[in-house]
């Protein structure tokens, strides 16, 4: 590519590269928490994941000059435990953390940044509905409608699913295909928590949690940690050949009518996804047809069809045919959430999706490896905060 071509993509295009990924033993820790044990706190999980990522990158603690911690761990104590006194820092969710890290690297605020996340939500009995619903202080919609019994993100997605079906989206049996496909992929992933098969019939036989959604539409709730090491593309070249570059990244937030939920129910975040997609694809210089694997933030199954339509993989209103004819499983031409995602691998709030994206491009996914995987697209639309990342090969 010419220098002009590269510049027109913006300064974040291939500015940063992921050179290390790490995570805790989700399966082992889930077994221990099920027995009533408390293996670690969120900070502990994050620290163990950091060591794993550092080893993967072949670096030491002293090489890190930037730190971003996830929203579930306190920044200062985390940095103290990791022994990092950085020149730049932040606190963000997974997609936001990658975006901030790219910006810090491109502007020279830091060269090598550790992104760490840890969560003891299972053993700490974190609740996502009811009087003490998590995140209610940050998202008014999660608490405001409680006087009418409205609570839990699952119920919000149930409202969306019902309207989505009425507007020509997916029936319950159509939506079932998402959980079924992700479970089949998870069966080939030794790190996945749910590795028993699931059929559409078994899905339909499950009781509703909040009708029309059933348990398999909801994400897991488990303890664990994830860490990523991101550095400048230039430094990645010196370090070795495992680097995966951030080719494109974009963000678009929809805040209007968020608290009443009207925004979700009338637009389903399509507009935010369209803008984030355009920004990230333009920056990457690739489009949906170049993407080999899609990683979609799937706290609920409904995220998957909405993202496939919102990011232009499937025409709006065509999702039922897309799921039946093309599919999203490992044998499809463009598999989604190859690790099993939040529904079947681990609920690490988007962080585990980054690990899977990197490993697919590295060709390190074993039985679930997608042959010849070059570009992976990550998408999140949590509460209308749409983040889109295009990962691709290094040099």
């Amino acid at each position: 590519m010419s220098v002009e071509g590269a510049l027109s993509r913006g300064i974040l295009h291939r500015a940063a590269a992921i050179i290390g990924v790490g995570h805790t033993n989700w399966v082992g820790d889930a077994e221990r928490t099920k027995r009533g044990e408390k293996p670690h706190t969120g900070i502990g999980y994050a620290a163990l994941a950091f060591l794993d990522a550092l080893a993967d990158a072949g670096l030491s603690q002293n090489d890190i000059d930037g730190l971003i911690v996830g929203p579930t761990v306190p920044y200062e104590r985390m940095g103290e435990i990791l022994g990092i006194n950085p020149s730049w820092s932040g606190q963000a969710d997974s997609g936001g953390a990658i975006l901030q890290a790219c910006m810090a690297i491109a502007t020279g605020m830091a060269e090598t940044i550790a992104l760490v996340y840890g969560n003891d939500q299972r053993s700490a009995k974190v609740e996502y509905g009811g009087q003490n619903a998590a995140s209610a202080t940050n998202y008014l919609a999660y608490a405001y409608h409680a006087p009418w019994g409205m609570t839990s993100q699952g119920a919000i997605y149930a409202l969306m699913a019902r309207r989505y079906e009425a507007l020509g989206g997916l029936t319950e049996a159509g939506l079932a295909q998402v959980s079924v496909a992700l479970r089949a992929s998870a069966m080939l992933n030794p790190n996945a928590l749910l590795r028993n098969p699931l059929t559409v019939e078994e899905y339909m036989a499950q009781p509703y949690v909040c009708e029309p959604l059933r348990r398999p539409d909801y994400c897991l709730i488990n303890d664990g940690g994830v860490a990523l090491i991101i550095t400048s593309a230039e430094r990645a070249r010196r370090v070795g050949n495992k680097a995966v570059h951030v080719h494109g990244i974009g963000r678009s937030d929809l805040n209007t009518d968020a608290s009443s939920l009207q925004g979700r129910l009338t637009d389903f975040y399509y507009e935010g996804q369209r803008k984030a997609a355009a920004a990230s694809f333009d920056m990457a210089g690739v489009g949906p047809s170049d993407i080999d694997v899609i990683q979609i933030y799937d706290s609920f199954s409904l995220h998957v069809p909405l993202a496939l339509e919102g990011y232009g993989y499937c025409r709006r209103g065509d999702i039922a045919r897309y799921l039946t004819e093309q599919g999203i499983g490992l044998s499809s031409s463009r598999p989604v959430n190859t690790s099993g995602g939040h529904l079947a691998e681990s609920y690490m709030q988007g962080w585990n999706h980054q690990v899977e994206a990197i490993r697919q491009i590295r060709g390190a996914c074993g039985a679930r490896q997608v042959e010849g995987c070059r570009f992976v697209h990550y998408s999140a639309d949590v509460a209308g905060k749409c983040v889109s990342i295009v990962y691709g090969p290094g040099d």
Partner: protein
């Protein structure tokens, strides 16, 4: 478990005060005339802080509905429904459908406001199908 709790900031208080007498009032912007919900200090469309509290017509349409099969609050034992209703004035409220239930899809059904007494929150606005002669519950 526990009881459901209302979020009542200083912006919400005027709404709750008239709910107690069976009237749903929302803020209407004096500049661009748009209604807003939940209540807030300024207009999200034109940024004007000037507003008046106006009673709504009570007419609306169901945008979506769900049925809870899991209990999250002691005062809302499952099963119960939650509906999203687009009011004639523009805002959408989240509430419950009381009285008769439609056959088939609830989406697009015309509804009207009614008020029912809740153990903690006093009179709360709910909706019933337009034309349903279901009596407001005053237990």
């Amino acid at each position: 478990m526990g009881q459901s709790r209302a979020i009542r900031t200083i912006y919400d208080d005027p709404m709750w005060e008239t709910l107690a007498s069976g009237v749903l009032r929302l803020q209407q912007c004096c500049n661009c005339r748009s209604f807003r919900y939940p209540p807030g200090p300024t207009c999200h469309r034109c940024a004007s802080p000037e507003h008046k509290w106006k009673p709504v017509s009570g007419r609306g349409q169901i945008l979506s509905w769900v049925v809870f099969h899991r209990t999250y609050f002691d005062d809302y034992p499952a099963p119960y429904n939650v509906v999203a209703v687009k009011l004639e004035e523009g805002p959408m409220i989240v509430t419950n459908l009381t009285g008769k239930k439609p056959m088939g899809s609830w989406i697009g059904r015309s509804v009207e406001l009614c008020f029912e007494r809740h153990s903690n929150h006093g009179l709360v606005p709910r909706v019933k199908l337009a034309g349903d002669d279901h009596r407001n519950v005053e237990d």
